[in-house]
């Protein structure tokens, strides 16, 4: 079925290719996780699929399998005349820096990283702000005053999540205790639900009753463990509340799908602009998810406190420290 859609899309592109110069030939280079990673790459994919369904414009795609292929894939896309090209993930920045110089007439968008070139749009998110909000929610939902964090691979980006979360928890409850665990030090940490579940259970054993997972596919195990133990879990990246209604307290949403969708959409409209887009709470690039799946878990007081924090952050009254500004979590 999907193949047929793609074929139909291709046919449409070919048929209309000669019709107008406004037509675009978009492309995307996914990173090593692959487009079905249930997380970051898949968020992009969902945004692009939405675009394709709306406009009928097909896009070229490639999933890299090693470090060197990033540059190769970006260059091949540009050589084939694709425009705009989305580079998914911070790891593609060095490759994009080279390729974007070679093809100054091609428009590139990189997500999660800044590449400062005239033909590159950089979309980054203030994950620490979103994590702050779910930290507030976690602290208020916790009865024991102890909350947990399960990270994926131990890299600065994930520490950024953890640091924002920690600040939010302590903002709501200065006496709270926070347990932090990283799943691993290799990329397999992104997809190890068994280990995620174990880490979550050990945190529950130590008294935690809310745990926030920023760990890609590993999070699935964390959420399951929370459900099995009757504790609460917080999802990440996309709204994962629906996974286990009743034990998913909320999700820290990072709207990479919107960013990806907008890239193609603005390119089609002719409103695509290079430069840096920092998407934080104010831009709705990050946020917390409240829907029918978790409405019962979120008390009015909690909701008020989280919304208050949100407003204060946007207004600048609360400054959330960004781990990656100085690679420490001292605030």
């Amino acid at each position: 079925m999907k193949r047929m859609l793609i074929a139909a899309g291709l046919a449409f592109v070919m048929a209309s290719g000669a019709a107008g110069a406004a037509e675009i030939k978009p492309a995307v280079v996914f990173d090593m996780g692959g487009k079905f990673d249930k997380s970051f790459n898949e968020g992009i994919y969902n945004g692009l699929e939405k675009f394709r369904k709306e406009t009928g414009i097909a896009y070229r795609e490639f999933e890299v399998t090693n470090e060197t292929q990033r540059e190769q894939a970006l260059r091949r896309m540009a050589q084939r005349g694709s425009d705009p090209v989305i580079a998914v993930g911070f790891a593609q920045a060095p490759a994009l820096e080279k390729v974007a110089r070679e093809f100054p007439d091609t428009r590139f968008t990189i997500i999660d990283m800044v590449v400062d070139l005239p033909n590159v749009q950089s979309v980054v998110f203030k994950e620490h702000e979103g994590s702050f909000l779910v930290g507030v929610a976690a602290a208020m939902a916790s009865k024991t005053g102890k909350v947990g964090f399960v990270g994926g691979m131990d890299i600065p980006l994930i520490r950024k999540f953890a640091c924002g979360y920690e600040q939010g928890v302590l903002y709501a409850n200065p006496d709270a205790e926070i347990f932090q665990n990283m799943t691993g030090t290799t990329p397999s940490a992104w997809n190890n639900p068994t280990k995620g579940g174990e880490l979550a259970r050990s945190q529950f054993d130590r008294g935690a009753d809310v745990v926030y997972a920023a760990a890609g596919g590993t999070g699935i195990g964390v959420y399951q463990a929370a459900k099995d133990s009757g504790k609460l879990a917080i999802g990440v990246d996309s709204n994962q509340n629906y996974l286990h209604p009743g034990t998913m307290l909320t999700s820290m949403t990072k709207r990479v799908d919107v960013a990806a969708y907008n890239t193609f959409k603005t390119a089609l409209d002719g409103t695509w602009k290079p430069g840096i887009q920092v998407l934080g709470l104010a831009e709705d690039g990050v946020g917390w998810a409240l829907d029918e799946h978790n409405r019962d878990l979120v008390s009015a007081a909690m909701k008020a406190k989280v919304e208050q924090a949100r407003t204060d952050i946007i207004a600048g009254k609360i400054k959330v420290h960004d781990y990656m500004a100085d690679n420490t979590c001292n605030y």
Binding site: F62, E67, Q72, F90, A91, M153, I155, P156, T185, T186
Partner: protein
């Protein structure tokens, strides 16, 4: 028996059997491609064209080949001493660390002509050191080399993550990567090097370490077959009791073979770090160390065979990427399946057709000799 086992001509083992295995692997891959509704011949064309059909593709193919030559030779040297070095991945990783540290320390001060030998030495030293520990444990403590080298792959990965996340990372940067080296420390790309002679070549990651890989083939050949140390390695691998009888200490030979093996694997770091990425980063080894096992197996642990097998795997990697690029229905996972089939048939199933084929080329049946 006065006669040895009747043996088929050498080309059967060296050329025909790998070819049959390869053909079968591709045939099965073709069936899979057919089953998802694509034309296998088209796919094969894309694969071949992607690997050899244009200069940039060829550059990528040879760039992968470079890595496989290093890791394949590494596995082969250890295998000559009957040691199964599964740790090429970790040794390559740590070898790259050595290259990176040297480049980070001296990229501003040293000219390229000094930087390159120093980086090569560092890759060798770091890779050898990483292989030394499992070798020592095997030689002195009897800890099985397969287990320890696998474990050292994990330790290497963990160490690199620690170093890059906490120590070597360029502050304020998202990716766990070091700063970029000064361009004066970059090993020239092949297209640059050829440019000096006025030959234009498309950009590709192929760099001068390819030449070093070729040199290593010759060096390994000479070392294994034309030095007394190579002789001792082969003696221990061929018959350990005979080695002890000859006054060769297997413990020393095991350590020597593993250190040479680790050094060779470490050269992947020269290609990747000094030649391509120009910064220290995570996961640049991308499984080349493991593929090296298949390369060595297919190449009969001989430098010439390894060079050819490396070229094959280089072509599969590059052609495979091209395939995934050109035919969206063939995902990268399917490309891995195709590569896996080749490894399966040339490695694990190596002996599936060997008896039949050998019999075919041996007059009136072959059998083992029995003392009479």
């Amino acid at each position: 028996m006065n006669e040895g086992p009747a043996r088929p001509p050498r080309w059967v083992g060296m050329v025909l059997i790998p070819l049959v295995n390869l053909t079968l692997a591709l045939a099965i891959a073709g069936l899979i491609i057919l089953s998802i509704g694509e034309n296998p011949l088209t796919a094969l064309r894309f694969l071949l064209f992607g690997a050899f059909g244009y200069i940039e593709g060829l550059g990528y193919t040879l760039y992968y080949t470079t890595n496989f030559v290093f890791t394949g030779l590494a596995v082969a040297v250890a295998f000559r001493a009957k040691l199964f070095n599964i740790g090429g991945e970790g040794q390559a990783y740590i070898g790259g660390l050595g290259v990176g540290l040297v480049a980070l320390a001296f990229d501003d001060t040293l000219p390229l002509v000094l930087m390159v030998p120093l980086a090569i030495a560092a890759a060798a030293a770091f890779g050898a050191a990483w292989a030394y520990i499992p070798a020592y444990l095997q030689a002195r403590r009897g800890s099985h080399i397969v287990i320890t080298t696998i474990m050292f792959n994990f330790i290497a990965a963990a160490l690199m993550v620690y170093l890059l996340v906490n120590v070597l990372i360029k502050p304020g940067q998202m990716s766990p990567e070091s700063r970029e080296f000064a361009p004066s420390a970059w090993l020239p790309f092949m297209h640059e090097a050829l440019g000096w002679f006025g030959i234009a070549m498309a950009r590709s990651p192929l760099n001068l370490s390819f030449l070093w890989a070729l040199v290593c083939c010759v060096l390994v050949w000479a070392f294994i077959w034309h030095t007394r140390w190579g002789y001792e390695i082969r003696t221990v691998g061929g018959n350990e009791a005979a080695a002890v009888y000859a006054g060769i200490r297997p413990t020393r030979v095991i350590i020597l073979a593993m250190c040479v093996s680790g050094a060779l694997a470490g050269f992947v770091g020269v290609n990747e770090i000094l030649g391509v990425h120009h910064r220290l980063l995570l996961n640049f080894t991308a499984g080349y160390g493991f593929t090296g096992i298949a390369v060595a197996l297919m190449g009969r642990n001989h430098p010439v065979g390894i060079l050819l097998a490396s070229l094959l795997f280089g072509a599969l990697y590059q052609g495979g990427a091209e395939l995934a690029f050109e035919i969206p229905a063939i995902t990268r996972d399917l490309v891995v399946v195709i590569q896996g089939l080749v490894i399966l048939f040339s490695g694990a199933l190596e002996y599936m057709f060997r008896p039949q084929l050998e019999r075919l080329f041996t007059r009136r049946g072959a059998a083992l000799p029995v003392e009479g």
